[in-house]
């Protein structure tokens, strides 16, 4: 291939792991084709594609509201992040295993509490979790599923091994951007898709709908599913609307629902229609004024008792936050052993339970060498990166940790991997993570091939969260190759197209030339 551009000339990697280049600066096998193809583009070419991407997004209204700001188009970096088929198999197994362990944990802590009785997880951590909701103790969720949708955040350590940074089993978001990013990329870089076999992500909405329908209360053959949104002012409203539209189900707000006698109804023009499954994107605290915040206008009174009575499925179920509580995270490998009798496929990042006096003392001694996270932070807020923080900030942190150790965890810093990202007209390495999305229908866990890769746009920054100004990349999982032939999963194969019929061109109507000729006679 003719190298035209110099986009990758200045690309230098540090000592950390780069997704594209090996330490020798040679491209990794699965990146080789992309590496060559990018070099056929000049900077002007690339800028032009960026313009095209912006148009595609603004036409479709793909936006995100960054904290405190107005809606802006979602930032997508045009260099895709590629994951080999072999590595993805590990991710699938690891994420699936994790979701199943968390499911068992939730059923246990809201039920018999055996893992606490057996002192594998301290009871004190569970009962002091802000998201441990006693209102759903003893409740059997419909279909036995609590974690219908999970987003398990993965990062690569300095040795290139993927490990789990954080679990998200309450209302993980971002899948709509995964689908929209892919769609934009196919418009902007069709030639890249021609040279790679990328597994599709567009069937997520239909898979989600199937999983939701599988979680239906018993005896309902054609369940009525709704997506419950806080409304147009919510930062993730685009995603709520997107998913409802793609699944073909109603998008409702709390005020459209009413509970009567432990059944849930939505107000329609034809009267009240019973609802069987609520895919809710409203937090627990706002979901039911009877059991949670009485001043919430976003929920539906009586929803929890309707689920308790077995008349409605809530996805994801109430109270899941105790499983993705950061203070519980260090115990997930123990859960995998306790419930599944397995060793974790994906490791945790080394994390310290600060409620233990000795551990806390040691951690505070090394305050500037660890990463400190508030247990209740989301979107990277309140994060303190010890090696990068000022002394005054660290002192304040130490005081806060001593005052309320349950509210913090400390982790060993992970040197997140980097990948080439186009910033200010040049390709430079930027740190990134990966959020694969998993669906659980009660029988198996299906992981979307790909997921949301989030990129920290400022150079050297390790904060990738979208609400803090991060970017994203399209994530490509390559299909497996056996003996040079592409092995495609059965689900990925479309039926062969029927043969085309020969068609006549459309009727052109009366010919203007014909009339002109007449006039001249």
């Amino acid at each position: 291939m003719r190298v035209v551009g110099d986009l990758l000339d200045g690309y230098r990697i540090g000592t950390g792991w780069d997704e594209m280049l090996e330490p020798s600066h040679q491209p990794r096998t699965h990146y080789r084709m992309l590496f060559e193809q990018i070099q056929t583009l000049s900077r002007a070419d690339f800028d032009e594609r960026c313009g095209m991407r912006d148009r595609v997004f603004s036409d479709r209204g793909v936006t995100f509201a960054f904290s405190g700001e107005e809606e802006r188009p979602f930032p997508l970096d045009l260099v895709p992040r590629i994951i080999s088929a072999a590595e993805w198999e590990i991710v699938e197994r690891g994420v699936g295993q994790r979701v199943l362990a968390l499911e068992r944990f939730l059923a246990d802590v809201y039920g018999a509490g055996e893992i606490m009785r057996d002192r594998v997880v301290p009871r004190r951590l569970v009962v002091t979790s802000k998201h441990f909701h006693r209102a759903v103790a003893g409740v059997e969720p419909a279909g036995g599923v609590r974690v219908h949708v999970a987003g398990i955040d993965l990062v690569r350590d300095g040795n290139g091994r993927l490990c789990v940074l954080e679990d998200n089993v309450r209302t993980p978001s971002g899948i709509s951007y995964v689908v929209e990013n892919r769609r934009a990329m196919t418009h902007v870089f069709p030639e890249l898709f021609a040279s790679h076999r990328v597994r599709p992500v567009s069937d997520y909405p239909s898979q989600l709908l199937e999983a939701l329908c599988a979680a239906t209360p018993a005896g309902v053959s054609e369940p009525t599913v709704v997506v419950l949104t806080p409304g147009v002012h919510n930062a993730a409203y685009f995603e709520h609307s997107f998913l409802a539209g793609q699944m073909g189900v109603e998008l409702v707000e709390g005020r459209d629902l009413v509970c009567r006698d432990n059944r849930v109804f939505m107000r329609t023009t034809a009267g009240d229609e019973q609802v069987d499954v609520v895919y809710r994107r409203v937090d627990d605290e706002y979901l039911d004024p009877l059991h949670f915040r009485g001043d919430s206008m976003l929920g539906c009174v009586g929803l929890v008792n309707a689920a308790r009575a077995g008349n409605v499925a809530i996805a994801n179920f109430v109270g899941n936050g105790v499983a993705d509580d950061k203070a519980i995270y260090p115990y997930v490998p123990a859960m995998i052993d306790y419930y599944l009798g397995e060793r974790p496929v994906l490791d945790n990042v080394e994390t310290y339970d600060l409620d233990d006096t000795d551990v806390r003392a040691w951690a505070l001694d090394h305050v500037d060498r660890l990463v400190w996270k508030p247990v209740d932070g989301s979107g990277g807020q309140g994060l303190v990166i010890g090696p990068q923080a000022a002394d005054a900030q660290l002192a304040k942190l130490a005081t806060a940790v001593d005052a309320n150790p349950r509210a913090w965890i400390a982790q060993s810093p992970v040197a997140l991997s980097t990948a080439p990202t186009y910033v200010d007209g040049a390709m430079g390495p930027r740190h990134l993570d990966l959020r694969p999305f998993a669906l659980h229908d009660g029988e198996r866990v299906w992981v979307v091939p790909g997921g949301l890769t989030r990129v920290a746009l400022p150079e050297g920054s390790l904060v990738v969260n979208s609400s803090q100004g991060g970017g994203s990349k399209d994530t490509w999982v390559l299909a497996r190759l056996i003996d040079d032939a592409v092995v495609v999963d059965e689900e990925d194969v479309a039926d062969p197209a029927p043969p085309l019929l020969t068609r006549q061109p459309p009727d052109p109507g009366p010919s203007p030339g014909h009339q002109a000729a007449q006039q001249q006679q």
Binding site: R60, G231, R255, R267, T268, P289, M297, V301
Partner: protein
């Protein structure tokens, strides 16, 4: 469909039509005054504002055309302003995005964004805004018809649009009460409804007041005639709720609209002008009552409740 969405679609229909009609009326009015300043502006201005429900503001605005346009286009004190109507349509569309086509949404969204940018401009800018607003609203209405299935969602839009048309026609005709008008006045009136050419093709003779009134109230073929709009509304109400009614008041809206339609259908043309005040009064009342009956039947109260403990 969700009651809240149905209500939003109904209001999109109403607001879009309102914006279009108001823009057209004002456009015609301002051109006719500018072309032919014969000193009638003051009373015409007052009557126009009165018809648009802004009679109180007449004193403060004066009779300058520019002031009038500024007021009707985007004065925050006037709830029927063009800017308010387009903004309200946008707010409703935002909450009902899944029920309208993406093209219709993009059109409403673009209109709103442009309007925000164009507000508060010079007098010239506001003049050109009138034509622009009229055209944008027409695009939205056209997209509703062409890119939505003609299902219940579309029917609510049509319902809003037709009831708003009846309302507007009644308001316009009410500016003519108690006055003998010259031909020019009637021509302006017909243009305000985009009806001038249609009138000429129908009657093939000059414009006379009695016939103009007849055309705007009784014509079966012209979309902005009160009769046509009412029968379109009745037809849509029938499709929305064909049954004899679940709770006794189910067909109340259809009854009201149907009755108003029938009253127009059987009135004698020669009686029409003499009884014009009565006719207009009846139409106005029918429109108001039908609006309430529709809300009652289809929309319920879907405001969020603040609970007490």
């Amino acid at each position: 469909m969700l009651a809240r969405i149905a209500e939003s679609l109904y209001w999109i229909g109403r607001y879009t039509e309102r914006a279009e009609s108001t823009a057209r009326i004002l456009d015609v009015y301002s051109h006719s005054v500018l072309e032919d300043r014969r000193g009638e502006e003051e009373s015409a201005c007052v009557r126009l504002l009165d018809a648009l429900g802004a009679g109180d503001a007449a004193a403060t605005i004066g009779t300058e055309v520019d002031a009038l346009i500024a007021f009707v286009v985007d004065d925050p004190r006037y709830p029927g302003s063009i800017a308010h109507s387009l903004e309200a349509a946008w707010v409703n569309a935002r909450g009902a995005r899944e029920a309208i086509s993406s093209e219709m949404w993009e059109s409403i969204n673009t209109t709103h964004a442009t309007l925000t940018a164009r507000r508060g401009g010079s007098a010239f800018a506001r003049h050109s805004l009138l034509g622009w607003a009229r055209d944008r609203a027409a695009i939205v209405a056209g997209l509703a018809d062409a890119s939505m299935s003609h299902d219940d969602g579309w029917r609510f839009i049509v319902l809003g649009r037709t009831l708003e048309r009846v309302d507007m026609t009644v308001r316009l005709l009410s500016t003519r009460l108690g006055d003998a008008w010259g031909t020019d006045g009637w021509v302006a009136m017909l243009r305000s409804c985009a009806a001038y050419e249609a009138y000429l093709r129908t009657y093939r003779r000059g414009v006379i007041g009695t016939r103009a009134v007849e055309f705007l109230l009784l014509d079966r073929l012209f979309p902005r005639s009160a009769f046509h709009a009412l029968s379109a509304a009745e037809s849509v109400l029938y499709d929305l709720d064909p049954g004899p009614g679940r709770r006794g008041t189910a067909s109340e809206a259809r009854r009201l609209v149907g009755r108003a339609c029938a009253e127009l259908e059987f009135v004698r043309a020669d009686e029409l002008e003499a009884s014009l005040p009565t006719q207009l009064g009846r139409l106005e009342q029918a429109g108001t009552e039908a609006h309430i009956a529709i809300a009652d039947r289809f929309f319920h109260a879907s405001t969020a409740i603040r609970w007490s403990a």
